[in-house]
Protein backbone atom coordinates (compact mmCIF):
# COMPACT_ATOMS: atom_id res chain seq x y z
CA UNK A 1 0.00 0.00 0.00
CA UNK A 2 2.72 2.43 1.01
CA UNK A 3 4.73 1.46 -2.06
CA UNK A 4 1.84 2.64 -4.23
CA UNK A 5 1.73 5.98 -2.39
CA UNK A 6 5.50 6.41 -2.85
CA UNK A 7 5.19 5.52 -6.54
CA UNK A 8 2.36 8.04 -6.94
CA UNK A 9 4.41 10.81 -5.25
CA UNK A 10 7.54 10.05 -7.31
CA UNK A 11 5.64 9.84 -10.59
CA UNK A 12 3.70 13.07 -10.03
CA UNK A 13 7.04 14.73 -9.24
CA UNK A 14 8.43 13.35 -12.52
CA UNK A 15 5.46 14.69 -14.49
CA UNK A 16 5.70 18.12 -12.89
CA UNK A 17 9.46 18.41 -13.35
CA UNK A 18 9.75 17.13 -16.92
CA UNK A 19 7.08 19.04 -18.83
CA UNK A 20 7.37 16.67 -21.82
CA UNK A 21 4.34 14.45 -22.26
CA UNK A 22 5.08 11.92 -25.01
CA UNK A 23 4.97 8.14 -24.77
CA UNK A 24 8.75 7.63 -24.56
CA UNK A 25 9.37 10.07 -21.70
CA UNK A 26 6.37 8.91 -19.67
CA UNK A 27 7.28 5.23 -20.03
CA UNK A 28 10.86 6.03 -18.99
CA UNK A 29 9.38 7.81 -15.97
CA UNK A 30 7.25 4.84 -15.04
CA UNK A 31 10.25 2.51 -15.32
CA UNK A 32 12.57 4.65 -13.22
CA UNK A 33 9.93 5.37 -10.55
CA UNK A 34 9.15 1.65 -10.31
CA UNK A 35 12.86 0.90 -9.99
CA UNK A 36 13.21 3.49 -7.20
CA UNK A 37 10.26 2.00 -5.33
CA UNK A 38 11.77 -1.49 -5.75
CA UNK A 39 15.13 -0.35 -4.35
CA UNK A 40 13.46 1.46 -1.45
CA UNK A 41 11.36 -1.62 -0.66
CA UNK A 42 14.40 -3.91 -0.80
CA UNK A 43 16.26 -1.57 1.55
CA UNK A 44 13.22 -1.59 3.90
CA UNK A 45 13.02 2.21 3.68
CA UNK A 46 9.26 2.39 3.27
CA UNK A 47 8.04 2.68 6.85
CA UNK A 48 6.60 5.41 9.06
CA UNK A 49 9.96 7.15 9.16
CA UNK A 50 10.71 7.12 5.45
CA UNK A 51 7.21 8.05 4.36
CA UNK A 52 5.39 9.79 7.21
CA UNK A 53 1.89 9.82 5.75
CA UNK A 54 0.28 10.01 9.18
CA UNK A 55 1.27 13.71 9.12
CA UNK A 56 -0.70 14.44 5.98
CA UNK A 57 -4.24 15.20 7.25
CA UNK A 58 -3.05 17.95 9.61
CA UNK A 59 0.05 19.12 7.76
CA UNK A 60 -1.50 22.09 5.96
CA UNK A 61 -2.95 23.54 9.14
CA UNK A 62 0.41 23.17 10.89
CA UNK A 63 2.36 24.71 7.99
CA UNK A 64 0.14 27.80 7.92
CA UNK A 65 0.71 28.28 11.66
CA UNK A 66 4.47 27.70 11.21
CA UNK A 67 4.73 30.28 8.40
CA UNK A 68 2.99 32.82 10.62
CA UNK A 69 5.46 32.12 13.43
CA UNK A 70 8.42 32.37 11.01
CA UNK A 71 7.21 35.76 9.74
CA UNK A 72 6.73 37.05 13.28
CA UNK A 73 10.13 35.90 14.52
CA UNK A 74 11.81 37.18 11.34
CA UNK A 75 10.52 40.64 12.22
CA UNK A 76 11.69 40.41 15.82
CA UNK A 77 15.11 39.03 14.81
CA UNK A 78 15.54 41.98 12.44
CA UNK A 79 14.61 44.31 15.29
CA UNK A 80 17.12 42.66 17.63
CA UNK A 81 19.91 42.89 15.03
CA UNK A 82 19.20 46.58 14.39
CA UNK A 83 18.78 47.49 18.07
CA UNK A 84 21.77 45.41 19.15
CA UNK A 85 19.98 44.15 22.27
CA UNK A 86 21.52 40.69 22.19
CA UNK A 87 21.29 38.61 25.38
CA UNK A 88 21.80 35.02 24.25
CA UNK A 89 20.62 32.23 26.49
CA UNK A 90 20.81 28.46 26.41
CA UNK A 91 18.29 26.16 28.02
CA UNK A 92 16.77 22.70 27.72
CA UNK A 93 13.19 21.77 26.86
CA UNK A 94 11.41 18.45 27.20
CA UNK A 95 9.60 16.99 24.21
CA UNK A 96 6.35 15.03 24.35
CA UNK A 97 6.39 13.35 20.93
CA UNK A 98 6.43 9.58 20.53
CA UNK A 99 7.98 8.94 17.11
CA UNK A 100 11.40 10.04 15.90
CA UNK A 101 9.94 11.78 12.84
CA UNK A 102 7.84 14.04 15.02
CA UNK A 103 10.85 14.86 17.19
CA UNK A 104 12.83 15.80 14.09
CA UNK A 105 9.90 17.93 12.92
CA UNK A 106 9.85 19.71 16.26
CA UNK A 107 13.61 20.33 16.26
CA UNK A 108 13.46 21.53 12.65
CA UNK A 109 10.57 23.87 13.46
CA UNK A 110 12.53 25.36 16.35
CA UNK A 111 15.55 25.89 14.11
CA UNK A 112 13.46 27.22 11.23
CA UNK A 113 12.01 30.07 13.27
CA UNK A 114 14.85 32.61 13.38
CA UNK A 115 16.00 33.45 16.89
CA UNK A 116 16.01 29.90 18.21
CA UNK A 117 18.32 27.03 17.26
CA UNK A 118 18.40 23.45 18.51
CA UNK A 119 22.03 22.79 19.35
CA UNK A 120 21.92 19.30 20.84
CA UNK A 121 19.47 16.44 21.02
CA UNK A 122 19.20 13.63 23.52
CA UNK A 123 16.33 11.28 24.24
CA UNK A 124 13.33 13.49 24.88
CA UNK A 125 15.37 16.61 25.70
CA UNK A 126 16.52 19.38 23.36
CA UNK A 127 19.13 21.99 24.13
CA UNK A 128 17.98 25.27 22.59
CA UNK A 129 19.95 28.46 22.02
CA UNK A 130 17.89 31.65 21.85
CA UNK A 131 18.94 35.13 20.80
CA UNK A 132 16.90 36.87 23.48
CA UNK A 133 14.71 35.96 26.45
CA UNK A 134 11.58 36.73 24.39
CA UNK A 135 12.49 34.02 21.86
CA UNK A 136 13.36 31.70 24.75
CA UNK A 137 9.98 32.26 26.38
CA UNK A 138 8.27 31.44 23.07
CA UNK A 139 9.86 27.99 23.13
CA UNK A 140 9.44 27.49 26.88
CA UNK A 141 5.68 27.99 26.74
CA UNK A 142 5.61 24.64 24.84
CA UNK A 143 3.06 25.92 22.33
CA UNK A 144 5.04 24.51 19.41
CA UNK A 145 5.57 21.25 21.28
CA UNK A 146 1.82 20.83 21.70
CA UNK A 147 1.24 21.68 18.03
CA UNK A 148 3.73 19.06 16.83
CA UNK A 149 2.26 16.44 19.18
CA UNK A 150 -1.14 17.27 17.74
CA UNK A 151 0.30 16.99 14.22
CA UNK A 152 1.69 13.58 15.09
CA UNK A 153 -1.73 12.47 16.32
CA UNK A 154 -0.50 9.46 18.33
CA UNK A 155 -1.72 10.65 21.73
Amino acid sequence: MKSFILFFILFSLWLLMSGHYNVLIISLGIISCAFCVYVAKRGKLIDDEGLPIFFMPRLLNYLIWLFKEILKSNLSTAKVIINGKVEPETFTVKTSQVTDVAKVTYANSITLTPGTVTTKIQKGVFEVHALNSDFGNDVRTNEMDKKVTWLEGKK
Binding site: N74, T77, I81, T90, T92, T111, P114, T119, K120
Partner: protein
Protein backbone atom coordinates in the same frame (compact mmCIF):
# COMPACT_ATOMS: atom_id res chain seq x y z
CA UNK B 1 -2.92 43.67 -14.48
CA UNK B 2 0.70 43.31 -15.48
CA UNK B 3 1.52 46.53 -13.64
CA UNK B 4 -0.08 45.24 -10.42
CA UNK B 5 1.91 42.00 -10.61
CA UNK B 6 5.10 43.99 -11.24
CA UNK B 7 4.39 46.11 -8.18
CA UNK B 8 3.79 42.99 -6.06
CA UNK B 9 7.07 41.51 -7.33
CA UNK B 10 8.95 44.70 -6.50
CA UNK B 11 7.51 44.78 -2.99
CA UNK B 12 8.45 41.14 -2.40
CA UNK B 13 11.98 41.66 -3.77
CA UNK B 14 12.34 44.77 -1.62
CA UNK B 15 11.34 42.93 1.58
CA UNK B 16 13.52 39.96 0.61
CA UNK B 17 16.62 42.04 -0.06
CA UNK B 18 16.01 44.05 3.11
CA UNK B 19 15.94 40.89 5.20
CA UNK B 20 19.06 39.58 3.44
CA UNK B 21 20.91 42.86 4.12
CA UNK B 22 19.85 42.85 7.78
CA UNK B 23 20.85 39.18 8.05
CA UNK B 24 24.25 39.95 6.54
CA UNK B 25 24.75 42.80 9.02
CA UNK B 26 23.81 40.39 11.81
CA UNK B 27 26.36 37.87 10.56
CA UNK B 28 29.08 40.46 11.16
CA UNK B 29 27.65 42.15 14.21
CA UNK B 30 26.48 39.35 16.53
CA UNK B 31 28.91 38.03 19.17
CA UNK B 32 29.43 34.28 18.62
CA UNK B 33 28.76 31.30 16.34
CA UNK B 34 25.42 30.43 17.86
CA UNK B 35 24.03 33.94 17.57
CA UNK B 36 25.29 34.25 14.00
CA UNK B 37 23.33 31.14 13.04
CA UNK B 38 20.15 33.07 13.85
CA UNK B 39 21.10 35.75 11.32
CA UNK B 40 21.85 33.06 8.72
CA UNK B 41 18.49 31.49 9.47
CA UNK B 42 16.84 34.81 8.77
CA UNK B 43 18.46 34.92 5.33
CA UNK B 44 17.37 31.32 4.70
CA UNK B 45 13.73 31.81 5.59
CA UNK B 46 12.80 35.45 5.05
CA UNK B 47 15.08 36.17 2.11
CA UNK B 48 14.41 33.09 -0.01
CA UNK B 49 10.69 32.96 0.82
CA UNK B 50 10.07 36.52 -0.36
CA UNK B 51 12.29 36.17 -3.44
CA UNK B 52 10.49 32.99 -4.50
CA UNK B 53 7.11 34.62 -3.85
CA UNK B 54 8.13 37.57 -6.01
CA UNK B 55 9.24 35.29 -8.83
CA UNK B 56 5.95 33.37 -8.62
CA UNK B 57 4.08 36.63 -9.28
CA UNK B 58 6.08 36.98 -12.51
CA UNK B 59 5.62 33.45 -13.87
CA UNK B 60 1.87 33.11 -13.36
CA UNK B 61 0.35 29.63 -13.47
CA UNK B 62 2.80 27.34 -15.27
CA UNK B 63 5.19 24.47 -14.64
CA UNK B 64 7.88 26.97 -13.68
CA UNK B 65 5.72 28.01 -10.73
CA UNK B 66 5.67 24.41 -9.54
CA UNK B 67 9.45 24.24 -9.86
CA UNK B 68 9.87 27.47 -7.88
CA UNK B 69 7.61 26.10 -5.14
CA UNK B 70 9.66 22.88 -5.10
CA UNK B 71 12.88 24.91 -4.70
CA UNK B 72 11.23 26.64 -1.75
CA UNK B 73 10.15 23.32 -0.24
CA UNK B 74 13.65 21.82 -0.52
CA UNK B 75 15.29 24.90 1.02
CA UNK B 76 12.61 24.79 3.72
CA UNK B 77 13.56 21.22 4.60
CA UNK B 78 17.35 21.48 4.26
CA UNK B 79 18.20 24.85 5.81
CA UNK B 80 17.32 23.89 9.43
CA UNK B 81 19.43 20.74 9.02
CA UNK B 82 22.52 22.74 8.03
CA UNK B 83 21.91 25.21 10.87
CA UNK B 84 21.61 22.36 13.34
CA UNK B 85 24.76 20.66 12.01
CA UNK B 86 26.74 23.89 12.41
CA UNK B 87 25.48 24.41 15.95
CA UNK B 88 25.97 20.78 16.94
CA UNK B 89 29.54 20.71 15.58
CA UNK B 90 30.37 23.84 17.54
CA UNK B 91 29.01 22.19 20.69
CA UNK B 92 30.97 19.02 20.01
CA UNK B 93 34.16 21.08 19.74
CA UNK B 94 33.30 22.38 23.25
CA UNK B 95 32.59 25.93 22.14
CA UNK B 96 30.22 27.25 24.79
CA UNK B 97 27.70 29.97 23.85
CA UNK B 98 28.06 33.36 25.51
CA UNK B 99 25.25 34.64 27.71
CA UNK B 100 23.35 32.94 30.48
CA UNK B 101 22.63 29.24 30.76
CA UNK B 102 19.40 28.05 32.31
CA UNK B 103 19.42 24.56 33.79
CA UNK B 104 22.16 22.06 33.08
CA UNK B 105 23.67 21.71 29.62
CA UNK B 106 23.41 18.42 27.78
Amino acid sequence: MELILDIFTSICFFIGSLSIIIGACGLIKLPDVFSRIHAAGMIDTGGTAFFILGMIFQTGWSLITVKLILIGVFIFFTSPVTSHVTANLARQKNILPVGKKIGKML
